[in-house]
């Protein structure tokens, strides 16, 4: 899933930039500016790539065991053995940050993937069929949105127990309404296009039209938005771990590490600082890339 998202988004960024260069109108200039790859773009991709690779290959890297306490390293500072020092139990911070990336990325990517799949499909149905389907779905969306999201997740975790799967499903449910709205808006635009009408005149079934004609045009804006949501969910997972409701210890997660250092914040700020910095940079990279990509596919509801 991470591979597909990233590849689709990168390939597409190039296209509008080229198209924009062809004529000199004002919008084209804007598009060109958004698509032009600045230094920040490369830094963001490099950081993100490094985090993802480190997370994937963590077991192969020469790291300390992230779960084993070392009493000689409690509150340890930066040393040649422990590059980022040790935490309240003396566990190696670098190793825990890298293993924590696994949890954070897994939650973010899986929840977004699931939410985008369900929400994207429902949104296409709402946009294509309109009428009763649409009204029903808009009602469902409103119900979910009227329900406080954090409370929902807390309830799931408090009652079903905190596990990776529960977190992912809970977050996915919360993201579905937004994906429905987005995909519905994109569908409304595409459904007017000639090739869809041609397919309809041709006698194609609605299912075929939705999945063969409309879906390919809806996937991109949904994926671009989903990319940003990965960053959002990384923060949410962190917030839950901060409340003690995230991924259960001893599995490291960024939010859990930040929370663990909270009591020693004034004496040993580095315990919270390093995971917080890594989380910050990762989310920043995702937002930076996502924002640029999303601009190209923005579907303004007011334009419909």
């Amino acid at each position: 899933m991470p591979e597909t998202t990233t590849t689709t988004t990168t390939t597409v960024t190039a296209e509008p930039a080229v198209a924009g260069a062809a004529n000199g109108t004002d919008t084209a200039k804007k598009v060109r500016r958004a698509g032009r790859a600045g230094i920040g773009w490369y830094i963001a991709w490099t950081w993100l790539g490094a985090v993802v690779l480190a997370a994937i290959f963590a077991p192969l890297l020469p790291l300390w065991d992230p779960a084993i306490p070392d009493y000689t390293n409690v509150f340890g500072g930066i040393t040649p053995q422990h590059w980022l020092g040790g935490d309240t139990l003396g566990r190696d911070t670098l190793s825990r940050v890298i293993y924590g990336a696994r949890a954070s990325l897994l939650v973010g990517i899986c929840a977004v993937g699931l939410g985008a799949l369900v929400g994207g499909t429902l949104g296409m149905l709402a946009g294509y069929f309109g009428g009763r389907t649409e009204r029903f779905l808009s009602w469902v969306t409103d119900v979910v949105l009227a329900f406080p999201g954090l409370v929902f997740i807390i309830a799931i975790v408090a009652i079903l127990g905190s596990s990776l799967a529960n977190l992912i499903v809970g977050l996915a449910i919360l993201s579905v309404p937004t994906f429905i709205r987005l995909s519905r808006a994109a569908t409304l635009v595409v459904a007017q296009r000639e090739f869809v009408q041609a397919a309809r005149a041709y006698g194609s079934s609605p299912v075929r039209i939705i999945f063969r004609e409309i879906a390919p045009n809806v996937v991109l804006p949904v994926a671009a938005y989903g990319f940003i949501m990965i960053g959002v969910f990384i923060v949410v997972e962190g917030s839950l771990s901060f409340l003690g409701l995230g991924i259960p210890p001893p599995t490291p997660s960024w939010g859990g590490m930040i929370a663990a250092g909270r009591t020693e914040l004034l004496n040993y700020p580095h315990i919270s600082l390093f995971p917080a910095a890594v989380m910050f940079l990762t989310v920043l990279s995702i937002n930076y890339i996502g924002e640029r990509v999303r601009k190209q596919f923005e579907v303004k509801e007011s334009n419909l």
């Binding site: 004002d26 920043l284 509801e301 007011s302």
Partner: protein, 349 residues
């Protein structure tokens, strides 16, 4: 969590509806239209309310873990648990309990806590003002910072203010609010300086000055990411407004830039901002849990979380009802505000 959902400017459903706009309709038709729109919206939102409360009732009931067992305590005998279950009327079918509860709500009775026996209405009355104060102050701060920055950025795009506020905004939006809150605590409440209290809350009527001091850090924490998102949103809407003909007209009349920006351009540009701000207020009322936990503030968020852990369903149900009603009412208000703000909506819609 939903802190985070903020990035989605969710336009209300009606605003997105296909507009079959006709120009010169009579005043009476317009008014009739507006009324019909309000009525339709109201029915829709009432249905949403019913669904939210019913779903939370059913879901809470279906979830594993018996409230009676939790309430009776660890050492209770099966008979005692049964007694508690009957006392709390948990042995009756969920549908009947829901209808009962709904009847209570309509007559102003929200029931009382399983745990402490405190009436739910009383518990809510203690907590809501706290969360409400923090939410509103944070929103006002966020708008006060975001609006001038956004207007200036749109007026002089690519210049210092625009670029600096964009960079800072990106940073702020990527910073989880509990991290920002911790940084603030280190800076102002114990680490670098100790000019503000790190935790606790003082009521406004107890001591207005202390109250102000106790909400500064929580409000700053809540405000920062919102301000970033608001600036971004308003700047982009403002940029497109500034390219419209009526701005050119205003400019050629020789109006001052300030008049054009704030009196002519701001109003039609503020739709998404108002929507998002409204959505955020509704969302924050139930979602300041993290900030409340970090700063030990006895607000609605803490009440809800404790209710979940204690299986105190009556409290939970009452709190959720309040959050849902707030969401619905705010949505209504936003919708009406559209009508008031931009005459074009009255005609087109």
């Amino acid at each position: 969590m939903a802190d985070t959902m903020a990035t989605t400017p969710a336009a209300p459903a009606t605003a997105a509806g296909p507009g079959g706009g006709t120009g010169g309709v009579s005043r009476g038709t317009k008014r009739k239209y507006a009324l019909r729109r309000i009525r339709k919206r109201l029915t829709h939102l009432l249905l949403v309310l019913l669904a939210v409360t019913f779903l939370s009732f059913v879901v809470v009931d279906l979830l594993p873990g018996d409230a009676a067992v939790v309430v009776a305590g660890d050492n209770a005998t099966p008979e005692q648990v049964q007694q508690v279950r009957e006392d709390l009327q948990l042995d009756r079918p969920v549908l009947i309990r829901y209808v009962d509860w709904l009847g209570g709500v309509l007559t102003g009775d929200l029931g009382s806590s399983f745990r402490t026996g405190q009436p739910v209405a009383e518990a809510l009355a203690q907590r809501i003002p706290v969360t409400f104060e923090i939410t509103i102050v944070a929103q006002v701060l966020a708008l006060l910072i975001a609006v001038p920055l956004a207007v200036w950025s749109a007026y002089r795009p690519g210049r210092l203010v625009d670029r600096a506020s964009m960079t800072l905004g990106f940073g702020a939006a990527a910073m989880p609010n509990f991290v920002f809150g911790m940084v603030l605590i280190v800076l102002f409440a114990g680490g670098v300086s100790s000019i503000l209290p790190a935790t606790g809350y003082t009521g406004f009527f107890e001591n207005p000055l202390e109250n102000l001091r106790s909400i500064i850090l929580p409000c700053l924490t809540l405000m920062i990411a919102e301000a970033a998102v608001y600036r971004q949103l308003l700047r982009s809407d403002m940029t497109s407004t500034l390219q419209e003909d009526f701005i050119l007209m205003a400019r050629s009349k020789g109006l001052s830039p300030m008049t054009i920006l704030f009196r002519h351009a701001l109003r039609p540009s503020s739709f998404s901002l108002i929507t998002l701000s409204g959505v955020n207020i509704g969302r924050l009322l139930g979602g300041t849990v993290i900030v409340e936990t970090l700063f030990a503030i006895p607000g609605l968020g803490q009440l809800i979380v404790q209710a979940v852990f204690n299986r105190d369903y009556m409290i939970l149900q009452g709190a959720l009802l309040f959050v849902a009603v707030a969401y619905v009412v705010i949505n209504m208000l936003i919708d009406l505000l559209y009508l008031a703000l931009d005459p074009r909506v009255r005609r087109d819609a």
